[in-house]
Amino acid sequence: MFYRETGEFKTSYKADQATFPIRFEFFVFWTVVVLAFAVVPFFINDYWEKAVFIPFFVYALGAIGLNILTGYCGQVSLGTGGFMAVGAYACYKLMTGLDIYIPMGFDDTGTMAYHTILLPPLNIVWCVLLGGVITAIVGMLFGLPSLRIKGFYLAVATLAAQFFLVWLFNKVPYFYNYSATGQITATETTLFGFAITGPNAAPVATYLFCLSFLFLFAWIARNLVRGRIGRSWMAIRDMDIAAEIIGVNPLMTKLSAFAVSSFYIGMAGALFFAVWHGAAEPTEAFSINQSFLVLFMIIIGGLGSIVGSLIGAAFMVLLPVLFKNIFVGAFGWPTDLSEYLQLMLVGALIIVFLIAEPHGIAALWRTTKEKLRMWPFPH
């Protein structure tokens, strides 16, 4: 029959708490996964890769990360761009061979002596993962104030992180390996003999690389939010006092949300720089606009929903592409007009969603499902 919950009976708790309890949903999901992994790679070209798929994968990872922090744990963050920068720069340092200087005290002439450790350039998988780990550590540091301040004030504190981190990557040449332009440029890295980053990377390779990351970590995020940790996060979000009374440690819970969230955002930043753009410069690439873009994604897609993060990312990535193709491509309107229209639409949508459905498209979908349960009978 068609898509609804009615008639799906579960006989075990395992089946009842499955990610896709409705059989139809289950099949649709796996069909999409198989299509994405086994069919799309044969047809992908440079345009689809750079304009649609890679941006979607990168922002979906970032949106999942921010959704864990804001949607699930209720801690508002405007530092997404800054944390993406941390991931990108960590990835850059690791892929060019990390150099660590440990001060060993002063020598006879009064200059600082260093013990230098040089790591060899790492595999791109490690670069992205460790980029995430380093961002997680930075995120936890900036998450510490969340124990004392909430809501609006916390948002301002994370805003400070955003500006501080961008300033740091602009000002300290160590982070961009003393390059003359102040830019970071991805070196060529390979995985199983295929170039993933650098000018020789084939669309298929980058597509599959980013898709695998998204698939794996979306799945992990889903597992995290449905179990013990996810419930602690949501308990803190919904009522922190009651959460503490039933035994949730607020410090550990908030910091774990900041860590996991920053891990995801860091990976998104690493992929953004290394695979998507190939080069980055902090003021432009990781500005406050990135923070807002990802925040809009989770507001439109749905706060507190992993699927919502994906929908929101898809929406915000596809909208400009769609506008460009329709208004500029088909109607021949000027580019700037189409861009303004798009800004107006996004702005209006955010206002509408915040008023009418703060939990976004994902919640609309849930409501539809509930309505369908009884349809066509009133009750």
Binding site: N223, A235, D238, M239, I246
Partner: protein, 274 residues
């Protein structure tokens, strides 16, 4: 209902038998700036009893509960729980010791379903770390299902099967109160604190709630301390009553004794000071 047995991960019983002192409050005083909320109050709660705390508005009843579960730290006095003097602990540490509570104004997690709300009561007993959680299949899922089974028994006990998957924000008031009791019960507490469990309920809901409280007490042997304004409920349910007025203890004893106490009657009905 012997299906409601303690799971293997429950806090170990430590040899306190029914009738022995579970919690003792000794000379506790609590002040907020110049306002003295509680002045030199002592009483005890015996294992297995239902202990009511009553008093007029502003008598310090809720402050007393907040002291017991660690939300306020009294300036003076001691609290002994299961024979051990308690140092200043955070509320979440006290939850791990086996004290659960409900709130006067419902404090449920509005964005979560009934099932998830009650599952949060089991958080203190879930052990699997983040890596197992991320993997899910295997130990984390097994743990989840084990606790789900326990929670389902509570759902059966409280007769809320039909709202299992509903977001609690949409439930009527009486059911929300019931879910909150369920969340507290899920923690398998040694001591259950109920802050006005029947406030704002109609007669039928009050009778249901009274039944649940008595059943919890008699079937699982949970020690209960409750605050309530409805005198008939207090007299029917409780084994012993402590009466507070303006932060001071003015009465302590069985419901009958307290009822006949002249100081208590004066506090409730007022007394002329001419």
């Amino acid at each position: 209902m012997n299906a409601f047995v303690r799971s293997d991960q429950a806090a170990p019983e430590d040899g306190i038998k029914a009738g022995e002192v579970m919690l003792r409050v000794e000379n506790v005083s609590l002040a907020f700036g110049g306002v003295r909320a509680i002045t030199d109050v002592s009483f005890d709660i015996l294992k297995g009893e239902i202990r009511a705390i009553i008093g007029p508005n502003g008598a310090g009843k809720t402050s007393m509960l907040n002291v017991i579960n660690g939300f306020y730290h009294p300036q003076e006095g001691e609290i002994w729980f299961r024979g051990v003097k308690r140092s200043n602990m955070k509320p979440h540490q006290i939850a791990h010791q086996g004290i659960a509570r409900t709130f006067q104004n419902i404090a449920l997690f509005k964005g979560m379903s009934t099932l998830d709300n009650i599952m949060t009561g089991r958080l203190t007993m879930m052990r699997r770390n983040m890596l197992w959680q991320a993997l899910w299949t295997g130990p984390a899922e097994a743990e989840e299902i084990r606790h789900r089974e326990f929670v389902e028994r509570i759902i059966d006990f409280l007769e809320i099967q039909h709202i299992r998957k509903m977001p609690v924000g949409r439930l009527p008031y009486g059911l929300q109160k019931r879910v909150e009791l369920g969340r507290a019960l899920a923690a398998e507490p040694q001591l259950l604190l109920l802050d006005e469990p029947m406030a704002g309920m109609n007669l039928e809901e009050k009778e249901d709630m009274s039944r649940f409280i008595l059943d919890v007490n008699s079937q699982f042997g949970t020690t209960i301390a409750l605050i309530e304004h409805d005198m008939s409920v207090v007299m029917d349910l409780s084994d012993r009553v402590v009466v507070l007025d303006y932060g001071k203890k003015i009465g302590d004893g069985t419901p009958d004794e307290v009822c006949r106490d002249q100081t208590v009657i004066d506090a409730y009905l007022g007394v002329s000071h001419d």
